[in-house]
């Protein structure tokens, strides 16, 4: 937790470049139309398919170059449709809104707004510059009495920008995903809701406390204490968790036993949330975990919590049951329930998508089919990516203009993929527990 943030000294070049990227894409797409009509004058029989393809390629190219920004949302929504494109590896977090660090006067102002006091009046010490970037704000280190505290301050106006950023993404998402507006909204609203929730710090404190209390019995896990009286809509105060981030910790070459212990704690944490609490910390990216002394796993940042509805839960995990993959009629029903296929599909499409999803599920469900799974197996991940790339380049897949997969799947998939990814980084072997009904 030591990377000292440099306060912004220059115009954010990435933003300028980003805007430039947008403009050049617009120009290219315009150019494609010009080309199309020029060709059409010569050859009137030319269809629009080629035009769409040119557009899609140009837009996709520029999107894949854009790092950060709300465009990640578009990629995120393409997850279900493109199964698992490579870009999936990136963290789909609010970090996309990475704003320059808040100046200290603004931090003071934020404190005065909510507490009528400046940070130095509240705490014994308070770092003037941020010690770490949080998803949509920044973290200052403070002390009060004998306690070390982490104080998270949010950038003003973030919640307003969520909606407008999403609007910015819409036309691109429509193009890329080849969906109609109604279907896009189906995902958009889920994403918007979650992003807005992340800006509500009061909700975050409440949920952090709920989940950490409910998970307190799990061995080798630890959670910070949250302080209500020092938290507000834009400020969260919690205990400072001493330790190192995953990457730093791995550089110290921990033993296999240590890595397994952390991995197991991680698995147990998610197991309990998904199957017992039915609400889950849906942001398993390395920055949200801290590894403490004696290989204890500290969990911070509960900004993104997905509540899993019961009927979605039943269908989703029934798919993971090994035996079920044989029973065709039952499988059909679940595919319908989870909106992977619908009665608007042609029989050809139904067969195709069933095959694709069956392959995907049998692959993703692999860790659940054994008692112990070794996540250091890179081959497993290669196969997932390979499947994702293959399918997303398939013509039939590209042509289908329907949203596939329930909106709830968006965050549950992200959670599991993030979890697998973390376990892979840990190179851990984990006892993959599952609820009794799944055995």
């Amino acid at each position: 937790m030591s990377d000292h943030l440099k306060e912004q000294q220059s115009i954010p070049t990435t933003k300028v470049q980003r805007a430039a990227k947008f403009i050049s894409t617009g120009a290219k797409v315009g150019g494609n139309y010009v080309k199309h009509y020029a060709k059409k004058m010569v050859n009137p029989s030319m269809d629009r398919e080629e035009l769409h393809q040119n557009n899609a390629t140009d837009i996709y190219n520029s999107l894949s170059q854009l790092k950060g920004s709300a465009l990640k949302v578009a990629q995120m929504m393409s997850m279900d449709k493109n199964l698992m494109p490579r870009a999936y590896q990136d963290k789909f977090t609010m970090a996309q809104y990475s704003a320059p660090p808040l100046s200290y006067p603004l931090v003071v102002k934020t404190f005065q707004k909510y507490f009528d006091k400046s940070p130095d009046q509240i705490f014994d010490t308070f770092t003037k510059s941020a010690v770490n970037a949080a998803s949509i704000g920044q973290v200052h280190k403070a002390t009060l009495g004998d306690k070390s505290l982490a104080v998270k301050v949010q950038y003003p106006g973030v919640s307003d920008s969520v909606s407008s950023d999403l609007k910015l993404v819409r036309p691109f998402a429509l193009r890329i995903l080849n969906m109609n507006e109604k279907e896009l909204d189906h995902y958009m609203s889920e994403v918007e809701e979650k992003l807005l929730e992340e800006t509500d710090y009061i909700l975050e404190v409440r949920r952090s406390r709920e989940i950490s209390e409910a998970c307190s019995h799990i061995p080798n896990l630890s959670f910070p204490t949250y302080y209500d009286e020092l938290s507000a809509e834009r400020i969260i105060t919690m205990d400072w968790i001493e330790g190192s981030h995953l990457k730093e910790w791995l550089e110290t070459k921990p033993s296999q036993t240590s890595r397994n212990q952390i991995g197991q704690a991680l698995w147990d944490f998610y197991h309990h949330q998904v199957h017992n609490l039915k609400q889950v910390h849906a942001d398993p990216h390395p920055g949200n975990f801290i590894i403490q002394k004696n290989d204890q796993l500290g969990v911070i940042d509960f900004g993104c919590v997905k509540v899993i509805p019961e009927d979605f839960y039943q269908g989703y995990f029934a798919l993971i049951q090994k035996s079920l993959l044989v029973n065709a009629t039952e499988l059909d029903q679940i595919f319908f329930d989870l909106e992977f296929i619908s009665d608007r599909d042609t029989p050809e499409e139904q067969v195709y998508f069933k095959a694709v999803f069956t392959e995907m599920i049998s692959l993703l469900g692999k860790p659940f089919h054994v008692d112990k799974f070794d996540f250091s197996d890179d081959g497993f991940f290669e196969r997932i990516f390979e499947l994702g790339d293959r399918v997303s380049n398939d013509k039939l897949f590209k042509k289908s203009n329907q949203a596939r997969g329930s909106r709830h799947g968006l965050y549950v998939n992200r959670t599991y993929f993030g979890l697998y990814n973390l376990l892979n980084q840990l190179q851990a072997e984990v006892i993959t527990t599952k609820p009794d009904w799944l055995k």
Binding site: P105, V108, K109, G157
Partner: protein, 221 residues
């Protein structure tokens, strides 16, 4: 004449009373009083007495601007961390505090300036005194910034920095008048971003190196 010993305090009060009554009138009627005569009558004072304190409504408005500025400086003085701030932080601190002070008078300011918010490129005349006082304040910040090399010394241009900061003050004021976000959060963001931009531009940047290089190439030919 027997009131002589207390006259001093009376004078002070009159100035205050006139300002308060003027604000009240604007708040209740949405505009300045029709004439000084009418306003003086409302105040139960003679018109000529009014002129001892102010010469016109313009001068009252001007005094209000100046008071707001002085209130801000008083507030800043109370903030202990302010003295240790860099120039950029000092200016940010000033803007945040100033907007806080304005907030207490928002209705009054809205009455007078909202309709003109879009066309405020021509600044109201009554802001002249405030401008002068502000520029003195800004000059101090700029010269401090130059000393700490936070702000780059540039021929001709760097003498105009106080003017640039003044334009920024009006930009923020205009933004704030039209801001409808809860707790004026957007104004906070606007201040933060615009001040950062301004100080980035005033600081040493790639442009200086480029000009230096261009000059070198030109001269060495």
């Amino acid at each position: 004449m027997e009131a002589m010993p207390t006259k001093k305090t009376v004078i002070k009060d009159y100035r205050k009373i006139i300002i308060e009554k003027y604000k009240e009138h604007v708040l209740e009627h949405g505009h300045s009083p029709a004439s000084v005569y009418k306003f003086a009558k409302e105040l139960k004072m003679k018109e000529e007495d009014f002129y001892t304190y102010f010469t016109s409504f313009e001068s009252i408005k001007s005094a209000i601007w100046l008071d707001l500025f002085h209130d801000t400086l008083v507030d800043i003085d109370k903030q202990e961390a302010f003295k240790e701030y860099s120039s950029r932080e000092k200016f940010l601190g000033f803007m945040f505090t100033w907007i806080e002070v304005l907030k207490k008078n928002r209705s009054y300011l809205l009455c007078l300036y909202q309709s003109r918010a879009r066309s405020l490129s021509t600044l109201p005349k009554e802001s002249g005194d405030f401008k002068k006082a502000f520029k003195d304040f800004a000059k101090d910040i700029v010269s401090e910034g130059k000393e700490s090399t936070e702000i780059a010394e540039r021929p001709y241009l760097s003498d105009k920095y106080d003017e640039a900061l003044w334009i920024q003050v009006w930009f923020v004021f205009r933004y704030w008048l039209e801001d409808s976000s809860p707790r004026f959060e957007k104004t906070d963001a606007a201040i933060e971003k615009s001040v950062n931009l301004a100080f980035d531009l005033m600081g040493k940047s790639a442009l200086d190196s480029f000009l230096d290089f261009a000059k070198f190439m030109y001269q060495s030919k």
